[in-house]
Symmetry: C2
């Protein structure tokens, strides 16, 4: 019984292949690398009936993950996050079924934990001792804390404006933390320079192949949680876009395994903020790559990514599934965040709120039909962004009552 | 197939019984009420084999929960939180096995979600329209947000010094939020007065019988996650003590069902802060009830409870299981919090850190033996307490590198 059926890495641009047993960053051509598996081998070993008895974390899909030796799995029980039916939002939006996949219920309170769980575990397997990365906050927190458990030293560079709590998460982990007065691209350049000089392993978004594998488990879980009947639409807040690429890859792999129907791909939607919408611009212009977005700005900090290395993979996922890309403005994001708390009792992050604001807009425009089923990804807990919420409240005397 | 096998409520002090189909607060004698079930009925319907196929949330134990009609279940997928082996802490403490039950991975990031999930669902079943409660923060946030989903209006009174993020959670839910310049007992008095004047339902700790039922699922999960082999010791940070009472009740019920061995009860440990340790004082004096703790103060805000209504139940659980009660000081709590982040990659709350500091002390004193297995409850995410952590980091220029 193999723990993993990983076979090799391949380049989606030039089709070059690489070993999954050696350290790899990007292809010689500069493209991110993707992971391939022995799908026939998986088919022969893994059944849906086996799966149901496994622990409710993302390692239940270990045959479809790149870690070969179970001993290298570095886990805080991440995965199998709830898929919650949002009946009040369904009514509000006029859509038959609206689910929220709640990625707040995971180590560090952000979906970034999935990428770091698999990425750090594989780094441990490849005997990597020091990693470095730029981050908008949540990814840095997740990688720094997972790295501790794996015995790996990490170096994190973060914009000054990133959510303060993520800075504290990195700090308490004991990682080397640096700040830059700029955006994530500036942090990325510092990291690129530093890994060369120090011989650290660069784990920037899509500069290592395994983060996608962690993120793809969102797609695997969605399929399993819906008893292998996929929804009509999946909506995802898009910065680096790894989650969308991962969900697309997951569904293709499930089709390859024959676990979901081949004829019906959910339409994938990339949501961005109006202050940083390079993927949306490229989509609207029918292009297959995006351009650097100047002076990007949004309160949904996690999706402030002016140019994603995997932009062409995000756009491919959108085009191939008849999906779309859509931008929402910051005021709309914050009012949707409040509405969801007051209608559904869920305090979600601004990026997640952007997702639901987009679902509302897409229903209004008719792109989503009233009879359809839609999943919105909430990528993290609202409590990581306290500055988006006020807290006015009257003071009561100890001898008083309230009415 | 009954969804619930709830039979009635009973008073653990005077043995009076009450219906579980009508609103109930405390017994006429003033004691909290406990929930009883038809255990023979459960035995006949529910098997461990059935359980394994159910969704990974606390409602998998619905036969052992008080909600009769599934339609009233108000859920965000809470429960089946990870039980994580802490190998580095085992080594650090010199204890064979140390697990952390991580209650941060739940709606609102705090174990309070369990009590509110079941309490709010049952309130909905009983047709309750408005609830009121005092809170140290996390419980208020959880009850306010669950109440939204159930269509119940809530009134929350919170000390001024409670964690700011919990104030924001209550605020964004649209609940009526009030602050008091005092401790939770002061908030409790305001609520007691207000429920009388307004006809609201009082859901203060142990003033309604169903919160314990939610909390007891921690005990059910621990047993299931360890394949029905209980650990030697379970350590729990104790404010109101509902979790400890719940875990004790859970294990007794599992013994009644014959799902765990009757001869070996885990020793239950109540951990308090030195600045607020009424249960510890009572335990040290061999008493069965605690006294009000004057001028209580601790950075582990959730366990700042000067006098718990269920103190006698907490002490009973300790005495009956040959457990103990122990206090740790605030400096030790904060240094243990940091150590756990840097040894295990887990950023836990101060209350959770108190738990692990207590495990260390109990091993040092020999009360826990080196060959034993110990579970520590981390009751919430560290990110809810940003003020406990610094975030110093150097600024790097955009054209620089780091070393």
């Amino acid at each position: 019984m193999a723990y993993s059926f990983v076979s090799h890495l391949y380049c989606p641009k030039c089709q070059n292949t690489y070993s999954a047993d050696e350290k790899a960053n990007v292809c010689a051509c500069g493209s991110p690398l993707l992971v391939s598996y022995d799908y026939a081998g998986i088919k022969a070993q893994l059944t849906k009936e086996t799966l149901v008895k496994r622990k409710p974390d993302l390692w239940r899909y270990h045959e479809l993950l790149p870690v070969k030796n179970k001993e290298n799995v570095t886990s805080f029980g991440e995965g199998m996050t709830p898929l919650i039916e949002m009946k009040n939002l369904s009514e509000e939006y006029g859509i038959k079924t609206v689910w929220m996949k709640d990625e707040g219920l995971i180590h560090t309170g952000s979906f970034k934990a999935r990428g770091s769980a698999v990425g750090v575990s594989k780094a441990k397997e490849l005997n990597i001792k020091e990693i470095a990365m730029p981050t908008n906050g949540n990814a840095g927190a997740a990688w720094a804390l997972y790295a501790v458990k794996a015995g790996i030293k990490s170096h994190i560079v973060m914009p000054l404006d990133a959510p303060l709590i993520t800075r504290k998460e990195v700090y308490i982990s004991g990682a080397n933390l640096y700040l830059v007065d700029g955006v994530i691209s500036d942090a990325g350049k510092i990291v690129a320079r530093s890994v060369k000089e120090n011989g650290w392993f660069d784990v920037s978004t899509l500069k290592e192949p395994y983060r996608i594998e962690g993120k793809k488990t969102m797609g695997l879980e969605i399929a399993e949680q819906l008893d292998w009947e996929l929804p009509d639409v999946i909506v995802y807040p898009t910065g680096g876009g790894v989650g969308l690429i991962g969900i697309y890859k997951a569904i293709k792999e499930l089709m390859e395994l024959g676990w979901v129907k081949k004829d019906k791909f959910p339409r994938l939607v990339a949501v961005q903020a109006e202050g940083c919408a390079p993927i949306v611009k490229a989509f609207n212009e029918g292009k297959r790559e995006s351009e650097f977005w100047q002076d990007s700005k949004t309160s949904a900090f996690g999706i402030n990514v002016p140019k994603a290395l995997g932009d062409f993979l995000v756009l491919e996922a959108i085009y191939e599934t008849s999906g779309c890309a859509i931008a929402v403005d910051d005021d709309t994001i914050l009012s949707e965040q409040q509405l969801i708390a007051q209608k559904e009792g869920a305090f979600i992050c601004p990026e997640g709120a952007a997702t639901f604001a987009a679902i509302r807009k897409l229903r209004e425009s008719g792109w989503i039909k009233s009879h359809e089923s839609v999943i919105g990804l909430n990528t993290g807990m609202g409590i990581k962004y306290p500055e988006t919420v006020e807290a006015d409240a009257p003071l009561v005397g100890k001898e008083e009552a309230i009415y």
